[in-house]
């Protein structure tokens, strides 16, 4: 594309034609504040915080959507503009529940940060009527407090554009405008997939995960409970951000120590049960592939994806793998095999999951197929953010912690387990094991690069001893939907498909640390976090699920073989058709 020359605050820069004033400014080393803007997702020019003066436009324009033209001069910081932005902030504050001291997003709030930068005090220059809303606590994974909402629409844009479910949007108009579901239905009553992407993009404390930390603290202080914890693969690459580490840092050792110091009786790794999932799922796939039974087979690790199929594409339920997710397999194994092995009554085992995901909270509430009748596989799910909160509350200086090791017997996870956290990871892990299952020997190169990367839809074909396996990988529900439609119409045929509900996979899950738009717009956090996991994979001594010694033992001692009767009883599950209305 051809370049054009513009001046930003007098500095000449050359940018591609069609660039916005915001891009041009950044090229010139100038930051323009934004609130509603989220690159590629929400480009609506609504909040007006990014207004600038442009020599070829009448009046002020929103830098986030204004295309600059050749020779144009942009001013971003005149006194008039600064006053305008300050006034916008004052107006937002005039209808904002200013409970900043106790807000879950205090110190990580984009509105708060801008108010500080622009010297806005709570002087209530524009004090007036405020909208009153009840907090919506109806969903099993999150809260909505519309009194803190600044109507940037980032949540509804994420719901519509990334996830294609659109269960939230603007209701009413003018001053009464608010984000809600159709007909003011509570979020818990609509076809929300619980992915939590809306929370991750919310600039304020209007949206937050359901806080379950107190339940964990209560269990930890209950002497009758044997409290164990599992940490999902991508927790080790997410948590560091909460404590000032660069995006993509692996903090496994400190994570383990922190959990131990919080008082957990055992600290286990979901990477172990990710390997267990691979054993089950790869075997299930080979059987189904051989029998041509409901192909393509879809992965079932992502609870947001499962909920999506149950609501929107129930005709594909038979195509879902019956494997529980790694979280579910862990809980099920803990309350059966582990209980037996350790001689603990499963009733007394309290399983906590630390997940990058809000939908896992919903998944934990699905108890129809739990391993021990009447007992949930998982007792409480907390997100990465909640764990960080617990660590801070307990006064643990995370950065100063020594590295720790996971406990046996679920302490070993392979590299295949670790990459479950990134889109394509489950597929790659399964392929590593499927190659062995089909050909009898391991692949020469364990890196299946075709299925890596942050593209929404990836596909590849593998020839395993003459067996042609056509695979596809999608992340983000909107991409999953596209893929499903192509499969439905017969345009595409696959044998095995991996879907993760969140764009980029669990590394970008709805329970991961929240990065402000100023970071999201400029750094691909999905790719950066995924890179951390792939590095972890390379560094691990075992990179194949079927070679994980803990896995071998659990089969030897308990399940027998993958897809055995026992493993079906404990490690597999079923699905329900859900009505949208």
């Amino acid at each position: 594309m051809e370049n054009i020359n513009v001046k930003v605050n007098g500095v000449s820069v050359s940018v591609p034609a069609g660039s916005t004033a915001l891009t041009a400014a950044r090229t010139a080393g100038v930051e323009i504040p934004t609130l509603c803007y989220l690159k590629d997702i929400n480009e609506i020019g609504a909040c007006r915080i990014c207004v600038v003066e442009a020599s070829k436009a009448r009046g002020l324009v929103a830098a986030c959507v204004y295309p600059v033209s050749d020779g144009e001069e942009i001013t971003t910081n005149s006194p008039k503009l600064i006053e305008s932005r300050k006034m916008t902030l004052e107006l937002l504050l005039s209808n904002h529940k200013k409970k900043c001291l106790t807000c879950v997003r205090s110190e990580n709030c984009e509105l708060q940060k801008l108010c500080k930068e622009y010297g806005v005090e709570f002087d209530d220059r524009f004090e007036g009527a405020m909208n009153k809303y009840d907090i919506d606590r109806s969903a099993s994974h999150m809260y909505r407090d519309n009194e803190k909402c600044i109507l940037c629409r980032r949540c509804s844009a994420a719901c519509e554009k990334l996830q294609a479910v659109s269960v939230i949007g603007a209701n009413d108009r003018g001053f009464d405008t608010h984000i809600a579901s159709p007909f003011e239905m509570p979020l818990g009553s609509v076809a929300c997939v619980s992915c939590g992407q809306c929370i991750n993009v919310c600039p304020t404390g209007a949206l937050s995960e359901r806080d379950d930390t107190q339940k964990v603290f209560d269990a930890l202080s209950d002497p009758t409970k044997h409290v164990i914890v599992q940490t999902a693969p991508s927790v080790r690459v997410g948590l560091g951000e909460e404590f000032g580490y660069p995006i993509g840092s692996i903090v496994t050792g400190k994570l383990v120590t922190a959990l131990r110091r919080l008082g957990f009786d055992k600290v286990f790794d979901t990477n172990f049960s990710a390997d267990l999932t691979i054993m089950e799922e790869a075997t299930e796939f080979v059987t189904r592939y051989t029998n041509k039974d409901h192909l393509p087979m879809f992965t079932s690790c992502s609870p947001g994806w499962i909920k999506f199929v149950e609501y929107y594409y129930p005709e594909f339920i038979p195509n879902l793998s019956t494997c529980k997710s790694p979280q579910g397999m862990f809980g099920a194994t803990a309350k059966t095999y582990y209980a037996e092995k350790e001689g603990i009554d499963p009733q007394d085992i309290f399983v906590v999951s630390v997940m990058p995901c809000t939908a896992k909270k919903f998944e934990a509430e699905r108890i129809d197929h739990s391993a021990v009748k009447g007992l949930p596989d998982i007792d409480v799910v907390i997100t990465v953010r909640e764990l960080a909160r617990m660590i801070r509350k307990a006064g643990i200086l995370f950065r100063d912690l020594p590295d720790g090791e996971y406990d046996s017997p679920f302490g070993l996870g392979s590299g295949a387990g670790t990459i479950f956290g990134a889109t394509g990871g489950v597929m790659e892990a399964a392929l590593r094991t499927a190659v062995k299952a089909v050909t009898g020997k391991d692949a020469e190169c364990l890196d299946f690069l075709d299925v890596r990367g942050t593209q929404g839809i990836k596909e590849a074909t593998y020839d395993l001893n003459g067996n042609i396996i056509r695979v596809a990988v999608a992340s983000g529900i909107s991409n999953a939907k596209k893929l499903l439609e192509m499969i439905k119409s017969g345009e595409k045929e696959y044998d095995f498909v991996e879907i993760m509900a969140c764009p980029g996979g669990c590394v970008n899950g709805g329970g991961q640390p929240i990065q402000p738009a100023s970071v999201r717009n400029n750094v691909d956090i999905r790719a950066t976090r995924a890179a951390g996991l792939y590095q972890d994979d390379l560094n691990l001594p075992v990179r194949l699920s079927h070679e994980n010694p803990d896995i071998k033992r659990v089969y030897d001692e308990y399940f027998g073989t993958p897809n055995s009767h026992k493993s079906h009883e404990i490690l597999h599950t079923g699905y329900t058709v859900r009505k949208k209305y």
Binding site: I44, S84, L91, A170, R173
Partner: protein, 501 residues
């Protein structure tokens, strides 16, 4: 039978004498449900001429040369809009008609749609040919059932006659029109909101650029013109650009329809050449102000417009003059006000409308207009301060500069223009705590003029709160702490002894 009044031609009555009906030419003359009657008035001749004798560029050139400007509010040159859309190469283009007339008291578009629907359909087809579009949408408010019905009939008849559809007039030009009904949002009269609404989304504006002529309906080049604008097109084609540009002022050609209302004897739609003065409209066409009251101001442009004080009554009305005196043409509402109108109250009335109609997308309009309204409420309730006036002016300028769309950008106009022209009234409200026009209830007080009061006791008997005391045949008095300002006493007094201040 000696005193028989000679019948007077309608054209010679004061109401019609100064009018020139171009846009409304067929309204009330033809049966709008019969295409043959429209055809009898040269209907569809312009389309025939365009398709058989003109190139798209010559059509655009003719509209450009005529000087026709958009009648919906902004006054953007119609030909330039068409030229932009013509220049944009695209596999698909659209022609839209904005019939979402929403200004309070304005109904000129409705009259055209109800009285001469084919004029709009024909003009849209011409526009389609000019820019290279084969599909048109009329976005008409659902509150106009008669207009919708007549449009449906007209579109049906035009299709039947081959004037819409494939190969119109035997040429390879295809064009058809779909109706879309507004759901009652004023903001959908703003062009990008209108497009968003046609696309099936919540009616909200989107930032410009890109302008609709580049990226409009469903992302394709689109022109949007108002009903009244289209109503002029066919005659320009038939009679020529020169004829049209001979009417009006230097920069505003043709006529404009106004919805004349308020404190005026003759109300209704009036169509006058651009350049007609306010005095001609009010005093001659409108017949002046009733009850011998004094003209105070005229409000034009609806909720986006401003108030023109009496000193500008001789200003020739056109787009640019109105803007120069702090108002705007808008869609043509013209509300006449006399000395009994409080200008602060008027500003509050229009602002109340915009606050209610704000779509809620951008911060300045969603919260800013509401806060502005609250300041005006504070002023009219007698609690305003001089600081509030500064805050008000600040907020007005901020909303104007920062809002996303025209609705927000113009929302403060009624406040700004009244504050500029009638600052004394604002000052009176906040400093003297008085409403000079005696409209704002909180600032009113009722008093009995002692020397006029006969002591008949009628007022004290009618007072619902017992605020009036006095003995028979002696002047009465009102206890202001008890008075609820209902005005019952004043109405009852036969001697004009009670005044409100």
């Amino acid at each position: 039978m000696t005193n028989v009044q000679q019948p007077v031609s309608l054209e010679d009555t004061p109401f019609y004498k100064k009018q020139l009906r171009l846009a409304l030419r067929n309204c009330g003359i033809i049966n709008p449900e019969k295409i043959d009657e429209y055809i009898a008035m040269d209907g569809y001749m312009a389309l025939g001429k365009v398709l058989t004798e003109m190139t798209p560029q010559t059509v655009v050139d003719t509209i450009l040369a005529s000087g026709l400007r958009g009648r919906g509010g902004g006054g953007f040159p119609t030909g330039r809009k068409w030229q932009f859309a013509l220049n944009n190469v695209s596999d698909k283009k659209y022609v839209c008609c904005n019939a979402d007339e929403g200004d309070p008291g304005a109904f000129m578009d409705r009259s055209v749609l109800e009285g001469d629907p084919h004029a709009v359909i024909e003009a849209m087809a011409i526009a389609g040919y000019a820019i290279g579009a084969d599909e048109g949408y009329i976005y008409v408010r659902a509150e106009y059932p008669t207009a919708i019905k007549r449009l449906e009939i007209a579109i049906g008849q035009a299709r039947e006659y081959g004037l819409l559809g494939k190969n119109i007039f035997g040429t390879d030009f295809n064009f058809d029109i779909t109706l879309r009904f507004g759901a009652g949002a004023f903001v959908c009269g703003e062009e990008t909101s209108l497009l968003t609404s046609i696309e099936g989304n919540r009616g909200e504006p989107r930032p410009r650029p890109p302008f609709p002529a580049v990226k409009g309906l469903f992302g394709k080049p689109t022109i949007i013109n108002n009903v009244e604008t289209y109503a002029n097109v066919c005659q320009i084609i038939l009679k020529g650009a020169e004829w049209f540009s001979s009417i009006g002022t230097e920069k505003s050609k043709g006529t404009k329809v106004f919805a004349l209302g308020g404190k005026i004897k003759n109300t209704g739609l009036v169509e006058v050449p651009m350049g007609t003065t306010l005095r001609e409209i009010i005093e001659e066409i409108g017949g002046g102000i009733p009850n011998g009251k004094k003209f105070k101001a005229a409000q034009t442009g609806g909720p986006s417009g401003g108030c023109i004080p009496a000193e500008f009554i001789d200003t020739p009305i056109d787009y640019d003059n109105l803007i120069a005196i702090g108002s705007m043409m808008g869609s043509g509402g013209l509300i006449v006000m006399d000395e009994d109108n409080c200008m602060v109250d008027i500003a509050k009335f229009f602002l109340d409308f915009t606050v209610d109609e704000s779509c809620g997308k951008c911060t300045p309009c969603r919260i800013g207009t509401r806060r502005l309204y609250e300041i005006l409420e504070k002023i009219t309730s007698g609690n305003g301060t001089l600081e509030d006036l500064d805050r008000m002016e600040n907020l007005c300028n901020y909303i104007k500069a920062n809002s996303l769309c025209g609705l927000g950008q113009t929302a403060p106009n009624p406040v700004l223009s009244t504050y500029k022209r009638f600052r004394d009234e604002y000052i009176a409200h906040v400093v003297d705590k008085k409403c000079p026009a005696a409209v704002c209830k909180s600032l009113l007080c009722y008093e009995i003029t002692a020397d006029k009061c006969k002591g008949c006791t009628a007022c004290s008997r009618v007072c619902p709160v017992g605020a009036i005391s006095g003995t028979v045949k002696n002047p009465h008095s009102i206890d202001k702490t008890k008075c609820i300002k209902c005005g019952a006493c004043m109405e009852r007094c036969k001697f004009g002894a009670i005044v409100k201040k």
